[in-house]
Subunit: 352 residues, 2 copies
């Protein structure tokens, strides 16, 4: 046996053709099941390939076909349950379509982010699934995104002037309905802790205000505090300040479940009982809402479906792009998936 080099390199067609005494072309045909190879020859090649653990080099396929079967995934942070579910949905669809994700993170400076994105272009990913950062994408970033000329699908968060396909949640409706839920319970002094500078924050604020205005309830500017840095304990401080005032709100609509959790902590620390003294709502319906006491009234989103739909759409676009190149100038699609208010223990009728 001439197995000099079975050390640690993966064997190539070249080596197999040497070992079997046939040409590279024949080995290729044999392994890919193409006709034109005698069955005895094919068997011989197959068994050698098996013995030497041949694995085709997909980088070569990628170059030849002009299609890498990879997609870029720009993801905010990994520890986030909501974002994690979106990614799970994406990965499920990608996997079954035999695409692999190259992941880049937003936990980078602007320059680094641009480099990461450029890397996706240089690796010739067939498309990009974009989970935008809490901050707006910067100009150099958007420019690099334009240079990448494959399809792009954005999820969860938009930015002004974004011309890409988008999948998100009915944030405004969710905030509207959950606010209405509080109003129907008799609440009038309702605060909303919003997330500044992002589209979901703006939409939820809009929905909140819509419900308040519809019911003719005054909106106090001081009861619309905004979180500047997501991921800190700012929500706790904001809630504590809101609730420390003698004229405190009787209900708080929090931007999302993690924020609501910090509101619950602040209420607890101030000796306020939920829901007797204060009603609290979240957004997202994460697992945590069911493990908190009181269990959290919240707006259920469907992050898995967002991820799945976004990935499916991206694959469609890739398909369309490769069969008929040249931009398929259909105007960007925007789908907002329905949400549902889940009433649990953290909201109750107002008590005076």
């Amino acid at each position: 046996m001439t197995n000099i080099d079975q050390s640690n390199q993966i064997i190539s067609l070249d080596r197999i053709s040497d070992i079997c005494g046939v040409s590279i072309g024949t080995v290729s045909k044999a392994l890919s099941g193409k006709p034109g190879v005698r069955s005895t020859t094919r068997q011989r090649i197959l068994s050698v390939a098996e013995r030497y653990r041949y694995r085709p080099n997909r980088l070569v396929h990628a170059i030849q076909r002009g299609k890498s079967m990879t997609v870029g995934l720009t993801c905010r942070n990994f520890g986030d349950e909501f974002g994690g579910r979106i990614m799970s949905g994406m990965l499920e669809v990608l996997f079954h379509a035999k695409y692999d994700p190259i992941v880049i993170s937003w936990e980078l400076s602007v320059n680094e982010g641009v480099r990461a994105l450029r890397s996706l272009t240089e690796r010739r990913v067939d498309g990009i699934l974009m989970f935008p950062p809490a901050e707006l994408p910067t100009d150099p970033y958007l420019e690099e995104l334009r240079i990448f000329n494959g399809p792009i699908v954005v999820v969860d968060q938009m930015w002004p002037g974004c011309r890409y396909d988008f999948y998100g949640s009915q944030d405004a409706e969710g905030a509207d309905v959950v606010t209405e839920h509080l109003i129907k319970l008799g609440h009038r002094k309702i605060a909303h802790i919003q997330l500044s500078n992002v589209s979901t924050g703006q939409s939820r604020l809009d929905g909140f205000q819509r419900a308040m205005i519809r019911h003719g309830i005054a909106i106090h500017e001081k009861w619309l505090p905004g979180i500047e840095h997501y991921g800190s304990d700012e929500p706790y401080k904001i809630a504590r300040e809101l609730l420390s005032s003698p004229d405190r709100p009787t209900a708080i609509v929090a931007f999302n479940d993690p924020v609501a959790m910090q509101v619950l902590a602040a209420a607890h620390d101030l000796g306020l009982r939920v829901p007797q003294d204060l009603s609290v709502t979240g957004f997202g319906d994460l697992d945590v809402t069911r493990h908190l006491r009181p269990m959290l009234t919240t707006v259920a989103q469907n992050p898995m479906a967002i991820g799945r739909k976004a990935a499916e759409r991206l694959l469609q676009q890739i398909e369309a792009n490769s069969t008929a190149p040249g931009h398929p100038v259909s105007s960007p699609l925007q789908e907002l998936l329905p949400v549902e208010v889940i009433v649990r223990q953290s909201t109750g009728p107002i008590s005076r």
Copy 2:
């Protein structure tokens, strides 16, 4: 201008050489800053490359150098805060070393998992960072892992017979010390909710038992319930059953913070006050521990450092592998990062 084809394909060296009227080789040298090109020619090529937004094809580099500058990342699930931090640490190191991660998920059947892993081999990733699943890897999986002959580094969770480099936490020590903390507070009736079938679960159980035995405290089998399916509400049910008994434990050492959170919920639902009636400890020191009321006494791990160290080690191995091929048969490294008990409000002296 002969820009017939600037439609949507990224321009190639070939096209640039056409446009500039020089050979491909010259373009290559000009763009990569190699000598042997007149500065006027270089400028001309550079400006054309800039105008047409040239981006080198890294797939070609990968084939030529036999090094793809990618690593595989097998990750359990994305929504998990602990896992997310490990991944953040990994990504940080990989990014700065100009490696990109191809992520595959464990939320797959056995066959699918093997296919995902095979895909990594076929894409010629230079190494694999492995965050093992809650279940043990199956034989076909381990076999596919062997076929991939680059370096592999495992984090957090081991499996029997694993011969790869490993970075984890001092699970046994953490459980030991936090149990001792409870014992010093006067507790004798201490239960441990363990996670069955995984190495961290076993280590924490070992540590728990070590502390108990050292202090001559009897260990009741019924107070060592195991979670079979991580990610469900099984911990809640287990805690509720433990605490419903007339002869209930006065302290519970939970496998980790999410489990401890469910224990707190069960205690709350049974009218038990924490820490007056029951002390609870977690493991991990996730953000959630600070937002719970009472705040959770826990064992702080350092997942970012685990991720960083694992990635650094992997890159070392890749480097060593490419300079001196043939397995560097050093016996596998195992580093367990220190942990620290963080005492908060969920543990207190026993009250009778």
